[in-house]
Structure formats: C-alpha cells, structure tokens
C-alpha cells in the first residue's frame, strides 16, 4: 500500500502539468466524476468555485474519470457542457481509484504534502441519499478539510460516505 502512495506522489505532477510548476502544493484534491452521473454533474458549479477559492492557496485539483471506455472527446464535451475549468485525466485502469480508495462519483480524496489521505468522501451534504437533496448544503466537508489544512491542522472529519453513481469494477 505504501509503495502505491509513493507511486502516486511521483505520478501526480506528471499527470497534472500545472502541479509541476511553482511551489509544492499543500494538498492535492482528486475529484472522481463521470460524464453521465446526475449527482456528479450537479456539482460542476461548486467544483469551479472550489478551484477559484483554493487554487491561489497552494491547493491543486484534478478531475478523474474512472471509466475504461471513455474517450478524450467525450470528456472534452462534458467539460464544455458544464463549463468546467479543472485539469482532468481518464483513469482507465483504476490506478487512481485504488490509490485513493474511492467507490463512487462524485467522491473526493485529499492528499497531504507527504501524500497521506487527509480526507475522503463527499464534497458536502447537498445530497443525503438518492433523491434526497437539501436546498443548500449545511456541511461543507471538503472546504472544511481544506481550510484545516491551510491552517496547518488535520481535518476534523477524515471520511464521509459518498452518495452517487458507484464506480464499476474493471472487467
């Protein structure tokens, strides 16, 4: 398991060129999404806001599509439809899925500077179950985790149960 984390640490800047520039980020956020998951799509505006709010603060974001048969064209179309401005990669062999230990889209995994997972789970509590949606989120798990990291603390909540479309096992 540890070696996988190191592999990820090494791979991350290569996967995401913007990370290679400038100072080492304090945290890296992988956001697992799908082109056709309605709950994941509902988060597109919040993902753009997150990037705007945190990118200047040494927090890096990467959209991950864990779908073996997905093409770059399909992803580009999805990004354009939802005005998403985050860097992405298609995780066809589920390397990142395994390294982050995620099961669902949307689900986020936050890696600290020494590559430990500091938070994994929901972005917020907008959805409490399938079809159960609050008017607005009352718990902002990902933002709280990032704010704690920026303060030099550990996130108070380190995992939440994601809700959305389950990632299929590879054939």
């Amino acid at each position: 398991m540890t070696s996988r984390f190191f592999a990820l640490l090494l791979a991350f800047p290569l996967l995401c060129p913007s990370l290679a520039q400038g100072a080492e980020p304090l945290a890296k956020v992988m956001v697992f999404v799908a082109v056709d998951c309605p709950i994941a799509n509902r988060y597109a505006p919040e993902l753009n806001r997150l990037r705007e709010d945190y990118v200047g603060k040494k927090i890096e974001f990467l959209l991950v599509y864990p779908e073996p048969s997905l093409t770059e064209n399909e992803v580009n179309q999805h990004l354009a439809d939802h005005a998403l401005t985050l860097p992405f990669m298609i995780d066809r062999r589920h390397r990142l899925v395994k390294q982050a230990g995620v099961t669902t889209t949307p689900e986020v995994a936050v890696f600290g500077a020494s590559d430990e997972i500091l938070y994994r789970g929901k972005i917020d509590n907008l959805f409490s179950d399938y079809g159960e949606r609050r008017r607005r989120a009352t718990e902002t798990y990902l933002r709280d985790a990032l704010d704690a990291i920026l303060r030099g603390d550990k996130p108070a909540i380190s995992t939440t149960d994601p809700i959305g479309c389950l990632i299929e096992e590879l054939p």
Partner: protein, 507 residues
C-alpha cells in the same frame, strides 16, 4: 407494445436455483426493458440510457444499489394493499436477481435468450394532438441553486367550450423538468403576473386557478380518460403550467410544448375530484412547530351517494413523510380498504395512481386521510435550517397536505347530490376561515392594522407596506386600478370581503 409487456406477465419467471448463473440476456434484460428503458433511452428524461448489455453493465453497481433501496424505478404507493395500473415497482425476486447478477460479475449470457427489444412510439404518444401550444419564449434554468417553481401562461384562445381527454407534455430540456401541473385560469390573473420580473412566466401561486387538466411526472405515460370521461376546458381559459425544475449543473433552456387531446362532447357523468382535506389542507390545522418530528393532520368526508373511483393522488411539500387514505363502508358492508398508502412521501414523484379496476364506493362510506410531517433537523429535506415553525402556504417552503380521489357518481341522477356535498365541504372551509377571522377579531382590528402597516402615513398601502406573504394575493384581489397599492376604496373592498368571509357568505 402492450402485447409485448403482456407476454412478460404470462411467461413464467425463470426459477433460479442457488448457484445457477444469472445472465443478462435471459434474466436481466426482461426487467430492464419492462421497468427502466421507457425513461432510460435517448431523448427521454432519465440521465443515462439502459437499452443494451453494454449500457446496463456500465451502471450495474448503481442499478443494484438504487433498486435495492427502491429509489428506482420510482414508485411510492404501496401496491400490495391497493391494486394500481402500470405499477413500476420491482418484486423482491427481481431485486434479488439483479443483485445476484452483479455479484456474479455481470455475465452476459447467450444473446439468443434475449427478449425482443421494446419498440417505443416516436413523437406524440397518443397520436397527433388536437391542440398544440408552445411557450412563447424559453426560460433559462441556471446551472446551480435550489429547485425552481415557475408558472408559464399558454393562451389557448378557444372560442368554445371543449373537453380534455389527455394532455402530453414535451419539455425541451427533459433533464431539468421534474414535474408540471396543468392548471387553468379563466380570470386572466396569471397573464397579469406573466413576465413581471423580466423572465418568462412568474413565481408563486397567487393566480386564481379555475381548474386543472392533469399533471406530468417523468415515467408516467399520458393516457386518455376512460369511457366518455373528460375534463372541462371552458372557452377563454389560459393553460398555466406550474413546472418544478431541478438544476442539473449546467444551464438549460426550457421551452415546453403541450399537446391536448380534445372532445366536443361533455361526458354523461362529470369527473369529480374529492380533496380530503379540501383546498390542499388550507384549514386542516397545518401549523408544525419547529423541531416536531411527528405531526399529523386528519380529515374525513362521507360519500352521500355511490361513487365509482378511478384514481388517487397526493399533494404536499418537503416536510411531509407519509400519506394514507382509507375508505370505511357503512356497518356491515365489508372491511375498510386502503385507497392510497405512501410510506415515504417524496415531493419529486407526485404521481396520479389509477386503480387497476374502478372502485365502487357505496353511499355512507367514510373517506379518511391521515398525513404526517417531520419538521425536525433530522429530515434532510427540511427547507429550513435550523427548523422553524411551518404553516399552510402556497410556497414550497410552506406546507400543504391533501389526497385527491377522482371518480364519477355511479348513478347519473345522483350528480347533483354529490355536487351539493362537495359544495358544503367548501362552504365549511370558508366557515372555518370565518371563525378564525372572528376569533382573531381581524375585522374590528382592521383600521388599527391598516394604520400600523401604513408606515408613511399617507392613507395608502403601497406594495412595500403590505405583509410579504400576502402581498401578491392582496394586490391581485383588490388592486382595481393596478397601481400596485391599495387606496381608500380598495381597503374598503378588503373590509367588505373579510366581512363576507366572517359571516359565511363567501364561497
């Protein structure tokens, strides 16, 4: 297509002994085709297609999860206690078959075992409608934010009275249109509100509804009313679509087209709608304390004549948790029967449930509704955080609660008796409203109330001085000169109106 589904009902279900492999083509495709594909296909409202092995396999774990907890297919009525038409609910055996298939690694099996793929009617489901109307301008649904309720006025410009057999709604952005109610307005009040905020349509429910010609929820296919039944569509009525939108994460433009199937002949027996409690629960005591997790309202109505009932549907907002309508026949005429039981009310799926066979309910039968609410913090759909006291109201953050039973009199000469009885239900409602006004001495206090509201002391109540919750309704009803304020003579009208309600003369 009907024959196709009938075949499934007749064919014996495959008996799967433990250990026998479940395959897609033989065991899963029949479930998907019969219960999922009508919405999960290109151009329909569901988010991804489920029409073949590859598409189903790509979402198999999600399908297992959402069928396992019965989120999908959407069906909220208890169909074990009441027999309905077009039940979308899966059986326990079907759910377990899907589970076993996914656990076994989603084996495809032999395509030769596959049932024929369903054939769907392209375009209008009931053929070319008699009347087709489209929203004049598209309405922009933003990418983000809370759900939106918006009314759109579609003038029908009918020169004579017509009767409606069916209505089909065709949204341009199916992914964001959650449901739509088809109201009628013969007073032109909706037209006055249309576009006032610079966008097509209007918000709030303060127009005067003069009737309804049906509803649209995803998954329910349009159907014509049975026999000669039809809903009245008086000449000069505007169609007002009350549409509920779910933002999807990307901006969408909605320009709805509506097809209406008409007939010129009125039905021999009028389709009556009995609401219990009446007026969506207006005087049913809906006043739910903040934090109250189990609040109940109940109301009943005794049928004066024999009735043949066709369908049942509920209406409430986010705090409602359960609904139940029971019919208790007079002593000695059989046991009570449940007409509708919704153990997990969900505003998103306000279906109309059609009984498998029309139900005959004899004179003297008591129709009782029991509706419960959860206004605690533990209800994730609670629109208020922290919870606050919620009363009856037209906005989605207020509450409502009623169950509607639709049917006709069994004997056509008893129409008038049923009408009178329904009229009495309405009169009692206004009487209750009158008692409240009396109890609170509203009429006596009116001059003082007006004086307090009139902050600039000019004898005129400007729009900004009117209580926010009542603003639109008061202006609509009383503002004769349309200057968005109530002057002396208009305040007098208010006084007379309140007096009529208090004495029970208003109905």
């Amino acid at each position: 297509m009907k024959a196709f589904f009938a075949l499934f009902l007749l064919a014996p279900l495959p008996v799967l002994a433990d250990g026998e492999p479940v395959t897609y083509h033989r065991d899963i495709a029949p479930i998907i085709y019969a219960h999922c594909t009508s919405c999960h296909r290109e151009g329909e409202s569901a988010p991804f297609p489920l029409t073949n092995y590859s598409e189903v396999s790509r979402k198999a774990r999600t399908i297992r999860r959402v069928t396992g907890d019965r989120y999908m297919p959407p069906w909220h009525a208890n169909s074990e206690v009441t027999e309905f038409l077009n039940v979308r609910r899966l059986t326990a055996e079907q759910i377990s078959r899907i589970d076993r298939w996914v656990s076994a690694g989603k084996p495809e099996g032999d395509p030769a075992d596959a049932p024929d793929a369903p054939v769907f009617t392209e375009g209008w489901q009931l053929g070319e409608p008699d009347l087709i109307v489209t929203m004049a301008e598209p309405y922009e649904v933003p990418a983000d934010g809370p759900d939106i309720y918006r009314n759109f006025v579609l003038p029908l410009d009918l020169a004579e009275d017509k009767w409606v057999k069916a209505v089909e709604l065709r949204p341009s952005a199916r992914g964001v249109v959650h449901h739509s109610l088809f109201h009628l307005d013969d007073s032109g009040t909706a037209r006055q509100l249309d576009g006032k905020d610079g966008k097509p349509g209007f918000s709030g429910m303060s127009f005067r509804r003069s009737g309804s010609i049906g509803t649209y929820v995803p998954g329910a296919s349009p159907r014509k009313l049975p026999g000669d039944l039809a809903r009245p569509l008086p000449r000069g009525s505007d169609l007002v679509l009350s549409t509920h939108f779910h933002p999807s994460g990307k901006p969408e433009l909605e320009r709805t087209t509506v097809g209406i199937y008409l007939t010129d002949t009125p039905p021999a027996r009028k389709l009556e709608e009995l609401q219990v409690p009446p007026a969506f629960g207006r005087k049913a005591g809906i006043d739910i304390p903040a934090g109250e997790a189990n609040f109940t309202i109940r109301d009943s109505f005794t049928l004066p004549v024999d009735v043949e009932a066709y369908s049942v549907s509920g209406h409430a907002h986010y705090l409602c948790t359960t609904m139940k309508m029971t019919a208790t026949p007079p002593e000695g005429q059989g046991p009570p029967r449940i007409l509708l039981e919704i153990p997990d009310w969900d505003l998103d799926w306000q279906d109309t449930y059609f009984f498998a066979e029309p139900l005959v309910l004899t004179a003297g039968t008591v129709i009782e509704s029991v509706i419960t609410y959860d206004n605690s913090r533990d209800n994730p759909e609670n629109p208020h955080n922290p919870p606050k006291r919620v009363k009856w109201g037209r906005e989605s953050t207020d509450e409502m609660g009623s169950i509607t039973l639709a049917g006709v009199v069994l004997h056509s000469d008893e129409q008038r008796e049923l009408r009178l009885s329904l009229q009495k239900q309405r009169t009692e409602l206004f009487a209750a409203l009158g008692r409240t006004l009396k109890d609170k001495k509203v009429l006596a206090r009116l001059p003082a109330i007006v004086k307090r509201l009139d902050r600039n002391d000019n004898g005129i109540l400007e729009e900004s001085e009117l209580p926010r919750r009542l603003r639109e309704a008061l202006l609509l009803r009383l503002d004769q000169d349309g200057d968005k304020s109530l002057d002396g003579s208009e305040i007098e009208r208010l006084e007379k109106w309140l007096a009529r309600i208090e004495t029970g003369d208003e109905s």
